[in-house]
């Protein structure tokens, strides 16, 4: 194909690559935040909090570049939709970074206390959440409508985890008041993971828009 706007299209590719790097850092932050909880690794929790600044910088950089391309290149059709979607995805990824950082703050609060409950389900939930994020970004890169729809609809699995964890924690907290404080922190952590999954759903929905031009599917 003869591409008469080759440089412009290369710039869009660079934008996409930068967004994927941001996605990879964000995914790592989610994993590290839960690893810090399980291993009681406060240094790792601090690392997650520090990495949030890097994630914020990525978001600003991507938004600036998107605005510049719109102003200078007057993109239309798929080019326009892709740039708009990358700008939106940057916001979703930044919010995910905030949630990972919030988990890290809760981990620091719990510190070296013994966990009130074996937390097997949180790492499992984390695997699910990080995989959904990876799959949603893959769907974006491959413009894979089928995958985007599938991932968008798999949000319920994460919700089930969250509901189970909250129910178990409530049972423990009802029987022992001393466990309420940590119980609330763990409930927040579960809720932060659930919110991360919601942002992955957003990524899928925006990918569907990018591919079809339709806001609803």
């Amino acid at each position: 194909m003869n591409d008469s706007r080759k440089n412009f299209h290369l710039e869009i590719n660079e934008l996409e690559n930068e967004m994927l790097k941001m996605g990879s850092i964000v995914g790592e932050s989610i994993r590290n935040s839960i690893k810090a909880l399980v291993d009681k690794d406060i240094a790792l929790a601090n690392q997650v909090i520090a990495d949030d600044d890097i994630i914020d910088d990525y978001e600003l950089s991507l938004e600036e570049k998107c605005t510049k391309l719109i102003a200078l290149q007057q993109p239309v059709a798929i080019d326009l939709r892709k740039i708009i979607v990358i700008s939106k995805l940057a916001t979703d990824l930044e919010r995910i970074g905030d949630n990972a950082s919030n988990i890290a703050y809760k981990v620091k609060k719990i510190d070296q206390e013994k966990l009130i409950k074996e937390m097997n389900s949180l790492p499992k939930m984390t695997d699910l959440v990080v995989n959904r994020l990876r799959e949603s970004l893959e769907a974006f890169v491959d413009m894979d409508l089928k995958k985007a729809k599938k991932v968008a609809k798999s949000d319920e699995d994460v919700d089930v985890f969250d509901e189970q964890i909250v129910a178990e924690l409530l049972t423990i907290m009802k029987t022992d008041c001393d466990k309420i404080e940590q119980g609330v922190s763990l409930m927040f952590i579960s809720r932060f993971l659930e919110r991360i999954a919601d942002h992955s759903t957003n990524i899928c929905e925006r990918t569907i828009y990018m591919k079809t031009g339709k806001m609803k599917y």
Partner: protein
């Protein structure tokens, strides 16, 4: 009654043996701006000129199909072509004022259609210049030569000249391509005003201009109308891959 001012049905157009347009079907809605885009040689200007039979002036051309104007085929043998061109005015790429005064340029059309009353002529000239958003700039020098006007003013004068014979449809063949951005913006604003009273068809090489000024857009490629739709649909999410390739520049 249909809201189509003109309706093009199965239009084929030939320059001798060369078929320049293939089975074109376009509804031109009343009081809307229709933009025609496409690469050079795609047939969009040829198509524009079929709408007031300007191509009749070129030897060896032939038309098949029909163009209904208020439900009457303009290619029927009983159509008076001069009367048709009075109803379907045209503005060209290069401003082409006559080497006459500003007043006489605008009064030219009504005069050759037989109007002699000076009061009425003055009224038409003022109204037409106002319609073309030029009156306030030239009202004190109507007797000056039109050739002393700037390019943008000359183009608006040509629009005023087209309006003076009270057309119903206005054809514009790249009306702003020879103008600077300020003059271009004035023409684009003017198009938005004019569509209240006229049906407008504009050929433009500037896709941004098509996006800004038009309600509907048609994309031509090698004599075919590839896609015709609302302008926002064409530029946000076109249906045909060839349209997308062209408007995003992935097409040589």
């Amino acid at each position: 009654m249909s809201d189509n001012k003109m309706e093009v049905k199965n239009l084929d157009f030939y320059y001798d043996d060369f078929q320049a347009l293939n089975k074109i079907n376009i509804p031109l809605k009343s009081n809307k701006v229709t933009a025609l885009i496409g690469p050079s040689g795609c047939g969009k200007s040829t198509f524009l000129r079929t709408l007031n039979r300007m191509n009749d002036l070129i030897e060896g051309t032939r038309v098949e199909g029909e163009i209904l104007f208020d439900e009457k085929n303009i290619y029927d043998p009983d159509v008076d072509v001069v009367a048709l061109r009075k109803r379907v005015g045209m503005v060209f790429q290069q401003p082409n004022p006559f080497p006459k005064s500003i007043f006489d340029n605008v009064a030219y059309g009504p005069r050759i259609h037989g109007l002699k009353d000076k009061g009425k002529l003055a009224e038409i000239v003022e109204k037409s210049l106002q319609g073309a958003a030029l009156f306030s700039e030239v009202k004190d020098r109507l007797d000056d030569s039109a050739l002393g006007l700037s390019g943008g003013q000359q183009q608006r004068l040509c629009i005023a000249r087209a309006l003076a014979v009270r057309p119903e449809v206005l054809l514009m063949d790249e009306p702003a391509s020879a103008l600077d951005p300020v003059a271009t913006a004035k023409i684009e604003d003017l198009i938005a005003e004019l569509k209240k009273d006229y049906t407008i068809v504009i050929v433009t090489h500037s896709m941004q201009q098509a996006a800004r000024v038009s309600d509907n857009t048609g994309f031509f490629l090698m004599g075919d109308l590839v896609e015709f739709d609302k302008t926002d649909k064409i530029f946000e999410n076109p249906t045909d891959q060839r349209t997308e390739d062209y408007i995003t520049g992935r097409f040589g």
